[in-house]
């Protein structure tokens, strides 16, 4: 517990005012709670959105689910989409939106995507890149092409899926 002792010593020698000392500790715990609290708990579920120029509809029995861990201004997340019956692939390049708006002041963030063709039990490697001013969305790619309504080398069908893992800096830093 050397860190505790160092902290106590530091505060006591700075100003031994019991009331302000307690207030300092409260502030400190607020900050530590904000940063470390989520790490010590289950990741948070949310619903990501798959978008295109004409948005796809995933169909009956489909899945659109996400889980994320936010550590201060860093978010780590998984997004999963599985098509259902009666799907409509929409039109245009696909984008994934969520869980937070991204900080767009710096270079783009890059994620990892794996597409699955259920009927063929085939898997396709890809990436997601967030470089546009659309703060929350990430464009989807495979190794040699953009991925959209035409599919990642196979036509989207019932039970086909998209899994994305990415991490990025969120737009607003509240701590």
């Amino acid at each position: 517990m050397s860190k505790q002792s160092d902290l106590l010593k530091m505060r006591l020698t700075e100003s031994f005012d019991p009331i302000s000392l307690v207030a300092d500790y409260n502030d400190m715990w607020d900050r530590l709670d904000t940063i470390f609290g989520p790490i010590n708990q289950a990741w948070v579920s949310y619903t990501p959105v798959l978008q295109a120029a004409v948005n796809p509809t995933l169909g009956a029995g489909s899945v659109a689910a996400g889980k994320r861990l936010k550590i201060g201004s860093l978010v780590i997340c998984y997004n999963y989409f599985q098509f259902g019956t009666g799907l409509n692939v929409g039109s245009g390049a696909y984008k994934i939106n969520g869980p937070f708006n991204r900080d767009i002041t710096g270079p783009p963030s890059i994620g990892i995507v794996v597409y699955r063709d259920d009927s063929a039990n085939a898997y396709v490697f890809g990436t997601s890149i967030a470089y546009s001013a659309a703060a929350g969305s990430r464009n989807l790619y495979r190794s040699d092409a953009s991925v959209g309504s035409g599919g990642p080398g196979f036509a989207w069908a019932n039970l086909d899926s998209i899994q994305e893992m990415t991490f990025y800096q969120v737009e607003e830093v509240s701590i």
Binding site: M1, K3, Q4, P18, I19, V22, A23, Y25, N26, W29, D30, L32, D33, F36, G37, I39, N40, Q41, A42, W43, V63, A65, G66, K67, L69, I71, I76, Y78, Y80, Q82, I112, V113, V114, R116, A122, Y123, V124, F125, R142, S143, D144, S161, Q163, E164, M165
Partner: protein, 175 residues
């Protein structure tokens, strides 16, 4: 902090030695214990742990090596794995790797969310391939997915001694 309702000292002055003061001290120490456990996970004194990944399907290690290292920070698990083929390693289908510590708890659409960045090399030709990971749809093992599909005895090359794959994976575990 799992206890977010009573993490703080009170703002009013406590009389030393009273039950009030002791209660606040208990809260404070509880929080330090939680924080210290988190910090110990990433402290330089706590090096990455060793674990033994297993060849679930598609290959046998023989006199090659399949090694792993892992760390855990609250609900965030990170593992790295390396396979080096040996002269008695055998290859027979799609590779599946399992037995990760701190099992992945996030399932979206019934699929464990384990993603990461992978690399394979056919040493004799220097041919290298990047990739990612995706869990077996019905089990906790993972496939390595490169642009040519899941790695197997013939993807992305015919595996022989001393070819290699390695990856780093990130996933949610129980905090």
């Amino acid at each position: 902090m799992t206890n977010t309702t009573t993490p703080k000292l009170g703002l009013t002055k406590a009389v030393p030695g009273t039950a009030q003061a002791i209660s606040r001290l208990t809260h404070f120490n509880n929080n330090w214990d939680i924080l210290e456990a988190l910090l110990d996970d990433v402290d330089e004194k706590s090096s990455l742990s060793t674990f033994s990944p297993t060849a679930v399907a598609g290959f046998t290690v023989g006199n090659g090596s399949l090694i792993g290292r892992n760390m855990k920070l609250g609900s965030l698990a990170i593992v790295k794995v390396e396979f080096l083929a040996g002269s008695t390693s055998t290859f027979s289908g799609v590779f599946e790797i399992g037995s990760f510590p701190n099992a992945a708890v996030a399932q979206l659409g019934g699929v464990h969310m384990i993603g990461g960045i992978a690399y394979t090399e056919h040493v004799s030709t220097g041919s290298t391939h990047i990739g990612s990971l995706r869990a077996n749809n019905t089990a906790t093992g993972v496939y390595v997915v490169v642009p040519a599909g899941r790695i197997s005895n013939i993807v992305p090359f015919a595996w022989v001694n001393p070819d290699v794959f390695k990856f780093i994976a990130i996933y949610e575990c129980a905090p």
